[in-house]
């Protein structure tokens, strides 16, 4: 299309276009090659970074196979019964603190009349049946028997690719639902369930294992499970102190994070507010003071929130007080800077009007300046509040209180990903709610600002 148009153009026309737009066709050399230089520069930098972080080596040594494993653990849990074959009688054993509680008797572990066991991992289609001499694994439409009598498990017939035979152990992987590990003296099963185990009541609770209907009827009209306490209070206490999910602790820590952001931003705003008037070039009584304050704001901002957090953690001990103080100090700088810039951008006419009535300095600020800047101030403060609500999580991890530390500790062991995901969901929820509150308030304010500007324009 373009080429056709070009073809119908005469050389003269092209020349005249070149004549008319010298700024497009005859640009200085450095401008013409600037994109190229930029590109080469970025490329060089990327090569340098590749070397600096020894990226190929790190990627080679990383364990990508863990990623899907961890991600499935976010939304699922597993049960790992073990069956000893070297005892007189085969009995299932569950790890301590398993999600089934103290007397596990799941319906997917079946004791057959002949003394053998069948474990249904995904119905009968994926299962294992075994006694002391023979184990039979069923999966993917195949039935694989293995003899356990000759010192190590011996698979009879061809070995399918979902079964791995090690020296003394046979491992059958069945995908998401679990796996079976067989040696001559024990069978280990891992069965994976979608969902979160014991999210409401933990295994020690008297309500454990009861359906929602049973729990409700117990609370409404059941006999007191613990003498002296109403069932409702007991249920609440059991949920709040759930040992596995620690709802009480998580929610308290979440509230701490919210409080840190709120307190830090609000106090920062309160301190920055008067200082900004002295820092704004057009309002300050002294130019030196303005410069000093502006450098002070820069200082407070440039001493990172991390440094403040570490210092205050040492000063006040770990907890939300340290976090609030860290956000407070950083916010003095950030809000002081934005407030004073907003003040420097105001329209001078209302101020002159108030001044002409003979009002004193304070009254001029109150009636000539504040109506114009207050919506802007509040809007900027809300914006910072929103951003600090996100940021407060992370400084918590260095000891400044809140959910950050809890999150970090849950991740350290790489075993509690469901708890991590629970906290992540709560954080996402909080961020979502606060974003919407802040957006709503700011939209209302921007309407005020808009109306104000329109009125000013109409009145000339």
């Amino acid at each position: 299309m373009e080429r056709q148009n070009m073809a119908t153009m005469t050389a003269q026309e092209m020349l005249s276009i070149e004549e008319r737009y010298p700024q497009v066709f005859r640009r200085p050399l450095y401008k013409r090659f600037a994109p190229l230089f930029l590109f080469v520069g970025i490329l060089t930098y990327l090569v340098y970074v590749l070397w600096f972080f020894s990226l190929p080596q790190v990627l080679r040594e990383s364990h990508w196979e863990r990623l899907p494993l961890f991600l499935t653990q976010w939304i699922s849990y597993d049960l790992q019964p073990e069956f000893r074959l070297d005892q007189p009688e085969i009995t299932p054993r569950y790890p301590r603190f398993s999600a089934l509680g103290e007397n596990p008797n799941p319906d997917w572990v079946i004791r057959n009349p002949d003394g053998s066991f069948t474990v249904l991992i995904d119905g009968a289609a994926k299962s294992v049946t075994f006694d002391k001499a023979l184990a039979t694994i069923v999966a993917n439409g195949q039935t694989v028997p293995m003899s356990l009598t000759s010192g190590k498990p011996v698979v009879a017939g061809p070995v399918p690719d979902w079964i791995t035979v090690h020296d003394d152990e046979v491992v059958a992987k069945m995908g998401f639902v679990g796996e079976v590990r067989v040696t001559v003296d024990r069978v280990k099963v891992r069965k994976r369930f979608l969902g979160w185990a014991n999210f409401v009541f933990d295994t020690r609770s008297p309500f454990f294992g009861k359906s929602a209907g049973e729990v409700v009827s117990l609370i409404v009209s059941g006999p007191e499970l613990k003498p002296g306490t109403s069932n409702l209070a007991l249920a609440g206490d059991n949920i709040w102190n759930n040992a596995q999910w620690q709802h009480g602790d998580v929610w308290t820590k979440l509230l701490q994070t919210i409080v840190m952001a709120f307190l830090g931003t609000l106090l920062g705003g309160i301190v920055a507010f008067p200082l900004a008037f002295f820092a704004a070039r057009n309002i300050t009584p002294s130019g030196v003071l303005s410069q000093v304050l502006k450098r002070f704001f820069d200082f407070m901002r440039s001493v990172d929130m991390l440094i403040w957090a570490l210092f205050f953690t040492r000063a006040f001990g770990p907890g939300p007080l340290a976090g609030s103080a860290a956000i407070f100090f950083t916010e003095i700088g950030t809000l002081g800077k934005t407030y004073s810039e907003a003040l420097e951008n105001i329209d001078d006419k209302p101020r002159e009007g108030v001044l002409s009535t003979g009002a004193n300095g304070l009254l001029v600020q109150r009636y000539g300046v504040m109506p114009e800047v207050i919506p802007v101030f509040i809007s900027q403060t809300l914006y910072q509040w929103e951003s600090n609500t996100r940021g407060a999580t992370i400084i918590g991890a260095v000891g400044a209180g809140g959910i950050g530390l809890k999150l970090w500790e849950a991740m350290r062991t790489n075993s509690n990903w469901a708890n991590v995901f629970y906290m992540v969901l709560l954080i996402l929820l909080v961020v979502f709610i606060f974003d919407n509150i802040s957006n709503f308030l700011r939209r209302r304010l921007s309407r005020t600002i808009h109306d104000y500007n329109r009125l000013q324009a109409e009145q000339g």
């Binding site: 990383s62 570490l310 939300p320 991890a397």
Partner: protein
């Protein structure tokens, strides 16, 4: 035309004037009531929050307040020259083999006797993490922003998907991504880059598509008229308009990411944050001061440089509200 309006007397206002004044007074008193109520609620929330934060903290505010200066006393080194020695890895006369004064140990030799001091090396790591993750954010945010902009999107359903995805990236706590990838690529700067990079995609993407939604559509229409496809229109009509603003926001993101990279470093991402955390928790005065000085100076320089560049790119509007 005859003028029959009597001038309103100042002493005895007319009924209409009185009515107006009453209405005005009612309105202002209502507004004042709302303002007082709002400020009152805010104050109540503030004091409740203060009490709550104080209760939950390990040390309480008024118990610890007199000891604030004690805590600062360890920060003041016995010999102020140690700050410079720590910063440049010069041997200290106070070195007794403890970790507090083993400055030359951290030297990173590059060429013969020429070395980069440890803290500079760590600072470079932190800055590199910030730069690379901003780069990652930029590379992905640009195409995403054109898909997510209402006026430029190739398909409304795709727009919704990309927008939600970016929202998720933005709100997802960086520390969780860092922790997850620490278990996969081992703790260190790579996990930090992934965490901050993913967050940057969401953050930059949002700012970018908001810019895209406010562009002048005439260039786009021109290209559409000559039959340009979606890619050509975006490349030749839209990108040139928005690129200065994109660069401005990207520079702002660099500033934010340097701070984020320091913090992620402190929780295991490597770099200067980790060293600072160790140094403060062990109470090494000279080392802490050297690290704070270096970090402060670097952030200050990056902020000022970025502000200067942004002013050159888009003028004063780079500093307007919400930027």
């Amino acid at each position: 035309m005859t003028l029959s309006v009597t001038a309103p007397s100042l002493t005895t206002p007319s009924a209409a004037t009185r009515q107006m004044a009453d209405a005005w007074r009612r309105q202002t008193s209502l507004r004042r009531f709302y303002t007082v109520l709002g400020v009152g609620l805010l104050l109540v929330a503030m004091f409740a929050s203060m009490w709550f934060a104080d209760e939950a903290n390990a040390g309480h505010f008024f118990d610890r307040l007199p000891h604030i200066l004690d805590f600062l006393s360890w920060l003041i080194p016995k010999d102020w020259n140690d700050v410079w020695r720590a910063l440049f890895d010069v041997a200290s006369p106070h070195d007794t083999g403890t970790q507090e004064f083993n400055f030359p140990l951290g030297r990173v030799y590059v060429w013969g006797g020429f070395y980069i001091p440890e803290y500079f090396e760590l600072m470079i790591t932190t800055v590199n993490v910030a730069l690379v993750s901003t780069f990652v954010g930029f590379v992905f945010a640009v195409p995403f922003s054109f898909i997510a902009a209402r006026n430029l999107t190739p398909h409304p359903a795709l727009r919704l998907v990309v927008k939600r995805f970016m929202e998720l990236l933005r709100a997802f706590p960086e520390i969780v991504i860092a922790g997850l990838f620490a278990a996969i690529v081992s703790t260190g700067p790579i996990a930090a880059i992934i965490a901050i990079g993913l967050h940057s995609i969401g953050a930059l993407g949002k700012l970018f598509y908001e810019i895209n939604e406010n562009i002048d559509m005439r260039a786009e229409e021109g290209l559409r008229a000559v039959g340009g496809n979606w890619f050509e229109r975006v490349r030749f009509a839209d990108l040139p308009q928005v690129l200065p603003n994109f660069m401005s926001y990207t520079l702002l993101r660099v500033e934010i990411n340097v701070r984020a990279s320091t913090i992620i470093g402190a929780v295991g991402g490597g770099g200067i944050g980790e060293e600072l955390k160790l140094s403060i928790s062990r109470g090494f005065g000279a080392k802490t001061l050297a690290l704070v000085l270096l970090l402060f100076t670097t952030i200050f320089i990056i902020d000022q440089f970025s502000a200067w560049l942004r002013r050159k790119l888009v003028g004063e509007q780079a500093f307007m509200m919400g930027a």
